[in-house]
């Protein structure tokens, strides 16, 4: 079933970039979220998925004989998720401020006048 994942990654990237080119700020935020998922899933896929194995070895094991999942990409993805979460929270607050200050979330109505 792993063969499905690359296509999911591709689909997420496509839709994320598509949404980010939209003029509505809400859709840009959704695009950011999808791009974040795409990046994380990509990290997961490219660092070789091990199915049904834990990412650690028993404490009494002498050496790493058994197949075990690589804990490193999991740690990376966890960090990336947390950071992405922070950025999205900021973006949503920014959306709120935009809406309160300017009264619109449509970027075409925010043209530079200076």
């Amino acid at each position: 079933m792993e063969i499905v994942l690359p296509f999911v990654v591709g689909f997420l990237f496509t839709s994320g970039v598509y949404l980010m080119m939209h003029r509505n700020f809400i859709k840009i935020i959704l695009g950011m979220a999808l791009l974040g998922y795409a990046g994380n899933l990509f990290l997961f896929v490219i660092s070789r998925i091990t199915l049904g194995q834990p990412a650690f070895i028993p404490s009494d094991a002498e050496k790493m004989g058994e197949v075990y999942a690589d804990p490193f990409p999991q740690a990376l993805i966890l960090t990336a998720i947390v950071i992405g979460f922070g950025v999205q929270a900021f973006a949503i607050i920014l959306l709120k401020r935009t809406y309160i200050n300017i009264g619109t979330a449509n970027l075409d109505e925010l043209k530079d006048e200076d």
């Binding site: 994320g16 970039v17 980010m20 700020f25 840009i28 950011m32 791009l35 974040g36 795409a38 990046g39 994380n40 990509f42 990290l43 490219i46 660092s47 070789r48 490193f72 990409p73 990376l76 960090t79 990336a80 950071i83 922070g86 950025v87 900021f90 973006a91 920014l94 401020r97 935009t98 200050n101 300017i102 970027l107 925010l110 530079d112 200076d114």
Partner: protein
């Protein structure tokens, strides 16, 4: 124990930021603490530069995990110098902020966020781990988002949306690059990667990750097709924030490019070179022409940043030890000079409440000190011989001529004329011509004078002490080129086959 200097340089802004974020802390104390943090960082980073100049590279493994498994923190000559310059530019920007940041912005914790921005920038300079670099980048970016939007005016919100969107895209590309790198090499430690990457098959995937990193850092550095976010966001926040963001953030992109393409991707330079030169040429030209077209002085210098970025990208991809050294000197020169231009025109703008060139004028008569400051810094940017810009450009151009890259060098020379033009435009319109409406002269607040003098002094000093600084930079460039010192310091005595 010398490694503690690195920790000191990182902890100073970190602790100052944390204290400033405590609830119920007054703005007065936020100012004091951040000033203390900046000065302490300056002391630690000067000591670090002196120490690194003696031993070459200082490194330690965070958390005690041996490299390449743990996170390496490395200060070589380049990193140490960049951290020092960061603290030097932070000082006048902070003093300027004390006077010019409006009251509502202060309440919203301007100064602690400023310290976190400094922390993110210095962390990016000091890390020896690709993923750790991503984390420092995010600290830096989130702080810069907050600084850009603080004040909540309409144009700030607009600028921040663009800045946010493009940076999320660039971070994603960076993350994907890290993914490819880990997938093919199984490591994210820069020194380890420098050893294993040249032997990895297939070469195509190595090239792919190099392109991902180039695009991600290129967006951050504002190179040609992807620079439009910069002029539409950098001029919007308060001058103190513009100074630090404008002087440093794009240069972090250049620094990482320099680090990656000297240490890990040196093999890739040969095929990317001509493509990147075309990009660099367009960056120089469009930045210069864009600057000429502007009437808002902050916007004008935002375009000027882009133009200078073109020179640095060119220097990185000339790819000789001399070129690396020249880029390092040019980076230092540019951070200080760009910071100084933003500070001086910012002082004029904040004081006369006018950033528009058309409405301005007569500053040379009413505030001659500021006019002298601008003249020194502006001539330095243009590259008039005794001043620092000359040595930077001279190094870059001679490195280019030695490697026979004539077409890009001629474009770089031609763009210098554009630099003179927009420098003169600001001088004529903002400082020299008679103002349309004569305003009453108000004395300059002393904090403005301190801030302006400090930055102009540092611009003069890097020209006066050009000789030792250039020697240091040449040595730093050679360290980057040879890379054995860096790898040995991080990994210990491994077999090095380069």
């Amino acid at each position: 124990m010398k490694e503690n200097l690195i920790i000191g340089a990182l902890l100073s802004p970190f602790v100052a930021g944390i204290i400033g974020l405590l609830p119920n802390i007054s703005v007065q104390w936020q100012k004091r603490v951040s000033l203390l943090g900046t000065i302490s960082m300056m002391i630690f980073s000067s000591l670090l530069v002196i120490e690194v100049d003696k031993v070459g590279v200082l490194s330690f493994q965070a958390g005690g995990w041996e490299a390449p498994y743990g996170i390496s923190i490395v200060a070589d000559r380049l990193s140490a110098l960049m951290v020092l310059v960061t603290s030097i530019i932070a000082f006048p920007a902070l003093i300027l902020g004390f006077e010019s940041v409006h009251k509502d912005r202060k309440v919203a914790k301007f100064f602690p966020i400023f310290m976190f921005l400094i922390l993110g920038i210095s962390g990016s300079f000091l890390t020896g781990d690709v993923f750790n670099l991503f984390v420092w980048f995010e600290i830096m970016l989130i702080s810069s988002f907050v600084l850009l939007v603080m004040g909540n005016s309409k144009k700030q919100v607009k600028g921040t949306i663009k800045y946010l969107a493009i940076n999320v895209l660039s971070s994603t590309l960076f993350l994907v690059g890290i993914g490819v790198l880990y997938g093919i090499a199984g490591s994210v430690n820069m020194a380890h990667l420098a050893l294993v990457l040249p032997e990895i098959e297939p070469k195509g995937l190595v090239a792919l990750s190099a392109v991902f990193f180039f695009v991600a850092f290129g967006i951050k550095a504002a190179i040609f097709p992807v620079y439009f976010w910069l002029p539409s966001s950098y001029h919007t926040p308060s001058t103190a924030a513009t100074t630090i963001i404008g002087a440093l953030l794009t240069k972090v992109g250049i620094y990482t490019m320099l680090r990656f393409f000297s240490l890990m991707y040196y093999d890739q330079i040969s095929w990317m070179q001509q493509i990147v030169f075309v990009i660099a040429a367009f960056t120089m030209i469009s930045g210069g022409l864009g600057a000429l077209a502007q009437t808002n002085v902050k916007k004008l210098f935002s375009f000027s940043i882009i133009s200078q970025i073109g020179y640095m990208v060119m220097g990185v991809f000339i790819g000789t030890a001399a070129a690396f050294g020249a880029v390092i000197y040019f980076l230092v020169h540019n951070i200080l000079v760009k910071g100084a231009l933003f500070i001086i025109t910012g002082i004029v703008g904040e004081h006369t409440r006018n950033f528009d060139l058309k409405k301005g004028g007569g500053i040379a008569k009413t505030y001659p000190l500021l006019a002298v400051f601008y003249l020194i810094v502006g001539l330095s940017l243009v590259g008039i011989p005794p001043l620092s810009g000359f040595w930077g450009k001279f190094g870059l151009l001679s490195a280019g001529i030695i490697t026979e890259q004539y077409w890009i060098i001629s474009i770089a020379l031609a763009v210098s004329v554009l630099t003179i033009l927009y420098f003169l435009k600001v001088w004529n319109e903002y400082f020299w011509k008679a103002p349309k409406v004569t305003k009453t002269k108000r004395p300059l607040p002393y904090k403005f004078v301190i801030s302006g003098s400090a930055i102009v002094l540092s611009v003069i000093l890097i020209a006066v002490f050009a000789d030792p600084i250039i020697n240091y930079c040449v040595q730093a460039g050679e360290d980057l080129f040879n890379k054995n010192l860096y790898i040995k310091s991080v990994l210990g005595d491994v077999e090095i086959s380069i």
